[in-house]
Symmetry: C2
Subunit: 783 residues, 2 copies
């Protein structure tokens, strides 16, 4: 989400025809080649608008230890939402927390930088630190693997290597001989920085050499506290703690001694520590644990999760954890496809992030400390994005984690000041970013798929509480009027349709639990999309509280103040995944529906029309792949009996929107949602309506993919004639039996088996005339 | 401490001669009269420099609920260090935390104000809040008792009553009929306020009507967190939460709804809540618990310590707690003396303050949460002041509390980032205010008096750690050179002599514990005062690290940058309580010593000479009673065989420095130290050297005082001929036996008995020729 628009010029030219030769070329190259692990390239998405980070993390880990090339002020921060931009040529330092692919941002906590030789620091200002210690680097010296990152800092001739555990970041710095080694720790900089963002920070050197501290920041999650504990494999020769802020008005505070090198602890808003090790004969290993709760917990995390100083062993463990996570899918595919696919899988398993200390304590949305009992608490919930495909992908590949995710959502709700589920949360705290109550479909989807390792009654209670909490996003009016009125709430049309979908998913779960009254209430609410759909113009539109649609109406109008969230009527009018048949009716039947869909993709859009809007990227006509409301649109042709058009559009998207290069992601990866879309689409199906247990079939982009599922089951997706000359699905079989419908059920996949496609050169107009549509399968999978 | 000077003009004129008629007049009035409780007047010290507060608290309680008349910015804040100044005519609100008699200040947390009728709030600015809700009041409507305060808010015609429990503040507001009742909660104002002091705050209305929140402030204890939980006896008709700060730069944060009346929770730096109750038929009761740890703990404190809404019952409990505390001393004395004495006793038992939640959790100097095991954690340690007499008074009257105090000091040291005992701490956190390591004599004094309910080994370890922590206040140089050098540390002469006394007290405890090596080390250090005492000029002076005294030397020079802490050479040269005999030698014998002492009291001092110095008040010549370094000086004549001069000086001080009026305290009460001096002196003896178990005899000012000691013992101090015509001690008996020495031992007091004085008209030059001096009794009291 959220960016200034970067229109992909030439995307239209690069569409279907040009894409086919590319497919053909790819098909002739390596088909199994390197390991899944070796195929991951964390550099993908680090340039342009991808906003991924190249550094070290483990699946769903608390630590994202990564180089930061800039942390500019808030006006210029969008480009550096992950701290790193591939186009940059110098590194500020290495910090321990990052979002993967977010639009808005924060974090960049506990930034360290090795310095060889004299330390000459420019004091800078609180909001522009680091001018004194930044170092140039060359991409040739970089090595990025899942869980490992290395670079040579040219100005210091220091080789920097990073790896990560669940709660500990590991650094290995090899200094040049003959120059004294230092480590600088700067608590000032922050991703999305601005003056006054650090409300308070502390720094302390313990008698045993452990360095602890923390800071409270006034960022995206206001008042967020983040603590750390740091240890070195070498004794400190000396150290100094500095407060770069001057003019502190309170009297009497100086602390013991008055020399920076004597001070053992310091608090303030602009703290910096320099740790000196002299001329080292061996690499400096630094290990850092973080905690949202306290310094004591950070120390406990370091004690338990960070024993010893064996960097290579920790790196091997990080690799193993990724090898295990990536082993859920085996591919037969060309090298570039493998690279894109496994990197997508890697990006899809970075968050939600562990946000719980070794003693089970975590910080909740009330900014208070709670203890998780019987589950691991995860946060970093970009729910508006990830409920669509990233979380459904986890129900398939990581159902055990899904249990923790659902339990975490319930727990967050139980310590919410509002008694509702998270909206956009991280490190346990709420940002209120984006719209909807999309924790509801995340939970419903898991429940319907038979994932039940949490308190289902508490879950349903939380879902109903969230869906009926009047003060949030116009829900009070939504419940009264059946739609959100634009004169009382911005982006009212988007809110109405997203609430209606969330309501539908809630109804499915309630019905499956035998709560018929709840199911009836929310089934009815699921039809509310009709209250905001203007059949005269054929567009989703926002109504006022007096019942009239807002005038004047321009379907190309988008952005804040309009009826839609990061989109316009061309994009948002398709958002009725729970009732595509109803939408077809509303648009006047299948032909009109298809015609209008075509006009979305084939429109000639003036790039200037989005110049004022943040984060509408990846345009194909009006279709904006870089923005999530479009993500199900290409699959909708299936519902109108023209699956070959879905297949055409998918080729168009797959060939233009994903390339295995640093600038290969056309929009923010959005915490794995863009990547999860790729994975599903490459496999040949997509969860258009999470909670339905149905995946809508597109077409496969991989010759053979094996999903290695829990319980030893294997589900194979294979394709004959998968090349550029055969872009259409001819026949489909499931376990050898012909499959005419354009969807596959979750229970069919988890049972194991094979979905086989025969591709052909021309559209197969006799295949796929049974769409996934209402009534969706209402039978939940067995637990 | 710390003030601009307020010279008591006319003090010299009001000395000995004028004082005698006053004594005579007093002696003829009521002698037993009102109860001890009724004699307490919390208004004493609320005007001028006393800095006491008139509001409600219980002995050593966590809550000090009191009206604030102003919380001005830091440049004008000194006068309002307790939030209230008797000369003011309007009240801003009632807040829950206050220091009693401090010089520098902070607190004023959780300010509330009842409003009758329409709420018309001037938004103000973050650092100048309250212009919209302040109300005028008249002193005639005020009623202040120990544990209870009431006032009528004239602008609203609201009767406001306050009382307190250990962790809960209770409010009763009686609104005029026909006007809607509101309670305003303002998290912005702070005592010693300045722009940006509130780093972060939060406010939340729970479904059950409980209001919680907290704030982190950048004040005297930087980064201090204070949470609260509040409940009302009436349902909320409506409420609104407001953030008065504008221009918050982060995107996406709005929280549920966009109307103040819908918002259930809010975070920010300038929060305000308005709670509406409609037209009430009965008083509004508000109860508020605080916690340094968390909102959850504040709720738990409220649940456990704040059941129901019976204001009168809580007021009665507060009264009972004070009646019990005050019952430790019975007096036969005139009404004015009773008032001054019992108010002093009240002021001496306000702090240290409980700083531990009902679950045992407290915040330590590392700003982390710890749990007290087997003791109650107390903080608010103005140690530079209270080690002199307030803490010794507690060893006599409240030995059980002394155990908790010592345990709290040890616990604070164990979670100190520096591993040392508190210096000036509150709510668990350190301010580094003032000099010395005076937790050491507090512990030593308790140990020597047989108070042993703590880990003595841990205590001694903590004391040694504090006394040898090089980076603090030049201790590294002090250990090397035997004095603190003025070219490396300000106020070096004061530091040297205070360290030497602290060392002496440490040595006494070490010796009593059989740690002879430790005792030897610190006994030697106790003599370090000689290294900074210039026998040529006869003054304590600061030396440079090259060994030379700093030149030029002016014994009247005082203040920051000079050799002394809040004093000059005339005042500080007497600070050798551990070796007065040595000091007499250094000054050339008893006659020279007495002559120099006389020149202190009889000097004609130009008031301008202190115009630049903070907090030197209560001057009699150079003697500054408002500042603690003078507190033992009048007793020193005893050591030179001229006790009648001690008696004369004490009359001079008692008659000029304490009056039972709002402006009756000539200097800051300093958390009970000024009051404790009064109590000891009125009883007839004073702990010149805490840790010695000896009280130096002055003269009694009360006809009969009975100390009701633990274990059912009673120690009576009585006097014959106590009137203005008989200002001198003639004879003294202890339990009927003549007592010629000028000191009484702690063990003699706690055994029970009677110390009887016969006063006479002329100096008794044959009495009291055996002074309390080295060797002090080295035998500790039996545990």
């Amino acid at each position: 989400m959220s960016s200034t628009i970067r229109l992909r010029r030439g995307l239209l030219a690069a569409a279907l025809c040009l894409a086919l030769p590319a497919l053909a070329a790819a098909a002739s190259s390596d088909k199994g080649g390197t390991s899944a692990y070796a195929a991951v390239d964390p550099m993908i998405g680090t340039g342009g608008d991808g906003h991924t980070f190249p550094g070290a993390t483990v699946p769903f880990g608390m630590i994202q230890l990564s180089p930061d090339t800039a942390m500019p002020d808030v006006k210029h921060a969008y480009k550096w939402a992950a701290g790193y931009q591939y186009g940059d040529s110098s590194i500020l330092g290495f910090s321990h927390t990052h979002f993967s692919g977010s639009g808005h941002s924060d974090l960049g906590d506990v930034l360290v930088m090795p310095i060889a030789g004299d330390v000459k620091l420019d004091p800078g200002s609180p909001d522009q630190p680091g001018s004194g210690y930044r170092s140039r680097f060359d991409h040739k010296s970089e090595k990025a693997e899942a869980g490992y990152y290395a670079v040579t800092l040219a100005d210091y001739d220091v080789r920097a290597e990073l790896t990560a555990g669940q709660r500990v970041g590991w650094h290995r710095y090899t200094f040049p001989k003959g120059k004294p080694a230092h480590l600088l720790l700067d608590l000032r900089p922050s991703i999305y920085d601005y003056d006054g963002k650090v409300l308070w920070s502390s720094l302390r050197v313990h008698a045993d050499g452990t360095v602890t501290g923390g800071r409270t920041t006034r960022g995206w999650a206001p008042g967020r506290q983040l603590y750390f504990a740091m240890r070195f494999n070498q004794p400190l020769a000396s150290r100094s703690l500095k407060n770069r802020e001057t003019g502190v008005p309170y009297k009497g505070f100086s602390g013991p001694g008055n020399r920076a090198e004597d001070v053992d602890a310091m608090t303030g808003r602009a703290l910096e520590g320099v740790f000196d090790f002299g001329d080292l004969g061996k690499p400096l290993i630094v290990k850092v644990a973080v905690s949202s709760v306290s310094e004591d917990n950070a120390i406990a995390n370091l004690d338990k999760d960070g024993a010893g100083f064996d960097f290579d062993a920790r790196r091997a463990e990080a690799r193993q954890s990724w090898e295990k996570a990536l082993s859920t899918v085996d591919l037969v595919a060309p090298a570039d496809t493998r690279k894109t696919f496994y990197t997508s899988l890697y990006h899809a398993m970075i968050s939600p992030s562990l946000s719980m200390d070794v003693n089970g304590e975590y910080r909740g949305p009330d900014n208070q400390v709670h203890t998780a009992k019987g589950f691991d608490f995860y946060s970093t919930w970009s729910l508006w994005d990830v409920y669509r495909a990233q979380q459904p992908l986890m129900t398939l590949l990581q159902p055990a984690k899904s249990n923790d995710f659902v339990s975490s959502l319930i727990a967050a709700r139980q310590s919410s000041p509002f008694g509702i589920l998270p909206i956009w949360a991280y490190q346990g705290m709420e940002t209120w970013c984006m719209i909807g109550y999309h924790a509801v479909p995340v939970i419903a989807d898991a429940y319907m798929k038979g994932i039940r390792g949490y308190d289902a009654d508490a879950a349903l209670e939380a879902m109903v509480a969230s869906a009926t909490y009047g003060p949030y996003g116009g829900i009070d009016d939504y419940m009264k009027l059946g739609y959100v009125p634009i004169d009382r709430q911005p982006e009212a049309a988007s809110k109405t349709v997203e609430y209606a979908f969330d309501d539908w998913s809630l109804a499915q779960m309630a019905k499956a639990m035998g709560k018929d009254d709840v199911a009836a209430t929310f089934s009815k609410r699921a039809g509310n999309w009709k209250n905001s759909f203007d059949t005269k113009t054929g567009f989703l539109r926002a109504r006022k509280s007096d019942g009239n649609y807002r005038e004047p109406f321009d379907p190309s109008s988008a952005g804040y103040g309009s009826d839609y969230t990061e989109g316009n009527a061309w994009q948002y009018s398709w958002y009725v995944p729970q009732d595509v048949a109803g939408l077809i009716d509303a648009l006047g039947g299948k032909d009109a529906f298809v015609k209008k869909l075509d006009s979305v993709f084939d429109a000639k859009v003036d790039p200037k029309s989005f110049a004022h809007v943040e984060d509408i990227t990846g345009l194909i006509g009006w279709y904006a792949h870089g923005n999530e409301p479009s993500h199900q649109v290409a699959y909708l042709y299936d519902y109108a009996g023209q699956p070959w058009k879905t297949q055409e559009r998918l080729v168009q998207i797959m060939q233009t929107q994903y390339t295995p290069t640093p600038t290969g992601l056309v929009g923010n990866d959005d915490l794995g949602q863009m990547s999860a879309w790729y994975i599903f689409t490459a496999l040949g199906f997509y969860p258009v309506a999470p909670g339905s247990n149905q995946y809508v079939i597109g077409r496969p982009f991989i010759e053979k993919a094996t999903l290695n599922l829990p319980g030893g089951k294997h589900f194979v997706v294979s394709a004959d004639h998968l090349d550029a000359k055969h872009p259409y699905v001819g026949k489909v079989t499931l376990n050898g039996q012909p499959l005419d419908r354009t969807f596959v059920r979750h229970e069919e996949i988890v049972a194991g088996g094979e979905l086989h496609f025969t591709m052909q050169a021309t559209p197969a107009k006799d295949w796929g005339q049974t769409p996934a549509s209402l009534p969706y399968s209402m039978t939940p999978s067995a637990p």
